[in-house]
Amino acid sequence: MDSSSDKDFYRLLGVARDASQDDIQRAYRKLARQYHPDVNADPAAEERFKDVSEAYDVLSDPQTRRRYDAFGPDFRQVPPDVDPDAFRRGRATAGAAAGSGRAGGGGFSFPQGDIDIEELFGGLFGGRAGRGWGPIRGADQEAELPVTVEEAYSGGRRSVALSADDGRRSFDVDVPAGVTDGQRIRLAGQGGRGSDGAPSGDLYLIVRIMPHPSYRVQGRDIYTELRLAPWEAALGTSVPIDTPGGEAKVKVPAGTSSGRRLRLRGRGLPHRRGNAGDLFAETRIMVPDKPTGAERELFEQLAAASSFDPRRQR
């Protein structure tokens, strides 16, 4: 267990090496409120909270702090009868590691025993304030699971990487067809670790359907834009459109204006126990940017012949 040996407790708490006990306490309280696993469900928060708590455990006690200052991160492996001040004086006369205030040079070697920090501290909450409680189950955690519209439609295997105690954890998850935005999915026992052998909490993945260039998802319904030429909209037509499930034909009735929603029943996101959502093609009438001479002429004829007034009609 060398998780703590490379950590600078002062930096973890964001205080100077000569900070007062009050400053240390204040820094710790602020960070604890920010990273406590019940306040912050991000899986990375637990590790941060553990580090901050360990730093506070060491620095809040003037005795341990003095030993940490003198011997550095490995201070726990220094026999208790080595006096920090004598050690410092000895090192200063030897001229080693000048001015750093930390051990590590100096011709003093510590026995490299296997000391389990968890054991020393009784786990995440076993220390300071945790006395009197038995094992405590770990906190539930939450992480987002970004999913494309296509994945939400057809499902598939996804790999999810989360930052965790030991670097990164990754899971392969089978995303079922028809997940919707905001859906919570539970991975039992994959949340925060329990103390003293208590079970871990659960990890909840929250499905987040990512923005798509042509689909907008609302619940299980999918909206997509259907562009039409004025004559297609006026005369009616049948157009192929892309849907997440493949190409489909939309029948555009004659006399369709912009903004009309044409429904393709059941072409939205599927539902394992119920009706699939619908796909709505929202019509939008487009005109040529630069009409050809012939087009222009025909539009002019139409304008002359027609008595249609779009602003009078409701």
């Binding site: 406590h36 019940d38 409680w133 392969d172 997940v179 919707t180 859906q183 919570r184």
Partner: protein
Amino acid sequence: MTYALIPYPRSGDRRLSLDVFARATGTHPDLVRRLVALGVVDAERDRAGQLWFSTDEVAALARVQRLRAGFALNYAAVGLVTDLLDRIAALQAAQRGSPPGG
């Protein structure tokens, strides 16, 4: 490892007796009774006066323990904090457009 993603069903169909609940949470039954009296842990009382706990309360009590340990809170404060955390969770879930656990 591969996990099938299964929507999480709402629990609460299984109820635990005081003794089972105390063992599951690693607490003394007397302390559990006190926590119920303080409204920190929810329980139902049957006609015989026995306390029954939903399985959700196991996680709820663990949270109470962690919060107490992390912030040295008293039970009144823990009750307030858990209520506020639940309210925030409900608001965030509403913002996501899905009921919690749904």
